[in-house]
Symmetry: C2
Subunit: 276 residues, 2 copies
């Protein structure tokens, strides 16, 4: 790994033998012994957020490098919640969230990375992808819209694309929010039971749920083929939201600390300036 990984329940995907089933979506080790110890996590989260806000400003001032955070998950996996939690207190002027839905006709007239490249982070910025180019090796694969050969080409194209971004100074962190099938059932039910959450429910989610095992296999293959020290995938146990958020924030802050952004030296004589 390019930076020292903090201790979290998140698992860095290393090598072709990685098995998604080996990661327990309920895991909260080493955070706490009891899953309901949420309150004890708060002080650390607040501390991390303060530091994240400082680091983001330094990255912005330096204006040389950038950070790309990719979030993927099964439906109800918690992408929106995780993004909101991570970016709380960070200056929105230096942060973008790009949400990728089903591609438009215009987008389908280009290669699958065309619309994604357009949203790559600018120098000095942090960009979060809510879904991403990985959808093109997930939903398309599960539903047989691409064959095996095209899927392999997509893995290559993705790895090359992420290398291009790295060459221009972009650090990349990718998180798969890993929930269990039972947890998804509960969250979907909650969206039906609570009128205030009804708008989040999409009957289509039930159809996709039927492909649960196929999606897990597609995720496993994508993670195996597209994770490296320079563009790592992390599987984040996400049944417990507080543990999910703490893990992501720990890793993002550790990566930014490692980048160690520095504001540029003034190109004028600071002491000689007179303000009248």
């Amino acid at each position: 790994m390019q930076f020292k990984l903090p201790k979290t329940p998140a698992v860095y995907v290393e090598g072709k033998d990685f098995k998604l089933a080996d990661v327990d979506p309920d895991d909260i080790t080493p955070f706490k012994r009891r899953p309901d110890d949420k309150a004890d996590a708060e002080p650390r989260l607040i501390e991390l957020r303060k530091r994240l806000s400082v680091l983001q400003e330094l990255l912005y001032a330096e204006h040389k490098r950038s950070l790309l955070i990719v979030l993927q998950a099964m439906d109800t996996g918690g992408k929106d919640g995780a993004i909101e939690n991570l970016l709380t207190g960070v200056n929105p002027a230096g942060v973008q969230v790009a949400t990728f839905k089903a591609p438009s006709k215009e987008e389908l007239d280009h290669d699958f990375l065309w619309r994604v490249h357009a949203h790559a982070p600018k120098q000095g910025h942090i960009t979060v992808f809510n879904r991403s180019h990985y959808e093109d090796v997930l939903i398309t694969r599960v539903h047989g819209l691409i064959d095996e050969k095209t899927c392999q080409q997509h893995y290559d194209d993705i790895n090359n694309f992420e290398q291009l971004l790295r060459h221009s100074g972009t650090r990349i962190l990718k998180f798969f929010l890993h929930i269990s099938k039972e947890e998804q059932a509960q969250r979907l039910q909650a969206r039906l039971d609570d009128p205030a959450k009804n708008w989040k429910f999409d009957p289509n989610d039930l159809k996709e749920r039927a492909y649960w095992d196929d999606y897990q296999a597609a995720y496993e293959a994508a993670l195996r083929n597209c994770s490296s020290e320079k563009a790592p995938w992390f599987v984040v146990p996400a049944n417990h939201k507080w543990a999910r958020d703490l893990a992501i924030t720990e890793i993002v802050v550790a990566a930014l600390e490692d980048m160690n952004p520095q504001p540029p030296e003034p190109d004028f004589d600071v002491k000689a300036q007179v303000i009248e």
Copy 2:
């Protein structure tokens, strides 16, 4: 080569031993024996243009693949003239010309392929790049703005990028319009002597002319590193404009013939349609 190359003075760049100096900018073989035989080339050019117009319409109707034509040259090399000549009579609705000048501040805040990717051809379209991503391994290298390591990364990124486009059905043809230093002197002088051409003259061109040998070396290195059967570079002898234009048109038409675009089968019963 993916397609049967027509006989023209243009040279396909193959292998790391390619030498730019081996290509004579005055060459018109096998077109004609005398460089002033321009008139004899006209009938063939007219024939090719008709065919190009038909092939472009078929490509547009098929709506599955696309063609990217990259043009590079030294100043006064004839890019504008070559583009005008090639696209005469082609339906502009299916053709785009993207001209790349010095990058903007916004563009410099991204990787060097960001602005180029945005202009990649849509399905069914022909796009011509007037200058291109190759400027980032030419002018930047000549003026020492990038080091050797970055230049190699750029070659890799370029090759990967062009592979991505090919994966999505884009055929790529790249032409270097090769003029001699003496020819450039004459063309620059003509821009000074003829008031109607004054607007084309840029005093900065004289400064760049002083780097002639460095540019030739940078071109040679770029061509060696980024030419393959699937994304070929052609060096087009370009001292004689008619031979340059005929060579490019021959190759573009041959590539499109090889692509052999087919309109989709009607998804309705043609005979059953009644127009009242």
